[in-house]
Symmetry: C2
Subunit: 149 residues, 2 copies
DNA sequence: GATAATTAAATGTATGTACATATATTTGTC
DNA sequence: GACAAATATATGTACATACATTTAATTATC
């Protein structure tokens, strides 16, 4: 659906304003699609992202600092998201032996198992990007990179 | 900067996954740019959006329902955002005379004055979309509309 | 080696999001 | 006109975000 119809705004000042609003709107739409998906597995999107980083490190541990570096949203609160994952026993947390300020965070076996199920489900669920051609997708990334220059 | 460098991921599975991650990352980046901007004026992004809708209605009142319809994020809590704006005396709220279930919400004179200052400042602040050509911006909107089909 | 500065994580507070539920008013039906 | 259904908003709870502050451990400096 065209963005004008989605947000019931008759016209935009120019293509720049339209692209800007469309970007915010679409990313939001995507996040909602995704959070509905993750909810089936008892996770939120940020919790999933942290688990995925931990799997990337596995079997090495990660520290909170490393999680913050790798997270898409740098300013979010990794420490409290790990709290939630620990409560669900998807990760373990223990004081780092070589630096007792830091904590070693590891994905647990149930955590790995959950991510495995999520991977399988995600292959059947492409959240709209499948509507693009491969060339479209590449072009989209090029435009987005240009915006952040 | 290319998305691979931004999030320190070596490679994506395909252009689809890359575009997807890039979209989420870029929209987040844009929102952070904006929220820093609005903070100078004592507003948050959703508060600004509500004020802008109210100005569009002015001098007619808006109801909470109308705000929800027009907001980019449909599921957020308009009622509590209006609470914050009312506390700052940027809007007024009173029971609608013709339907006492509804509340009439109006932007106040200080609210209009604040939006006026924001408009001026926003013309000097284009948040990255100015890096695109006009044709790029139009193409971006076309791709985003396609994703949400 | 005591003390200051830095670093790593956790905590506090205000705001917003998502979703369920509650309260009050209006509308529809018998 | 009583009572059920629908409507408009507000409230409650859990989670996340944004940013400042605190606590504890380590490193640097004298």
């Amino acid at each position: 659906m065209k963005i004008e119809d989605e947000i019931k705004q008759v016209a935009f000042r120019d293509d720049y304003q339209k692209a800007h609003v469309n970007l915010i709107f679409t990313a939001n739409w995507l996040q909602q699609q995704q959070s509905g998906f993750f909810k089936q597995f008892g996770l939120t999107l940020p919790q999933f992202n942290i688990l995925r980083i931990l799997r990337g490190q596995h079997p090495k541990p990660a520290t909170v600092n490393l999680l913050i570096e790798r997270m898409l949203d740098k300013t979010s609160n990794a420490s409290r998201i790990v709290d939630k994952l620990e409560a669900k026993e998807l990760v373990t947390r223990c004081v780092c032996p070589s630096n007792r300020r830091a904590v070693d965070i590891r994905i647990s076996d149930p955590g790995l198992e959950l991510l495995g199920r999520l991977d399988a489900a995600m292959n059947d669920q492409q959240f709209g990007v499948q509507n693009l051609t491969s060339a479209d997708a590449a072009q989209l990334s090029r435009l987005l990179d240009k915006i952040r220059d």
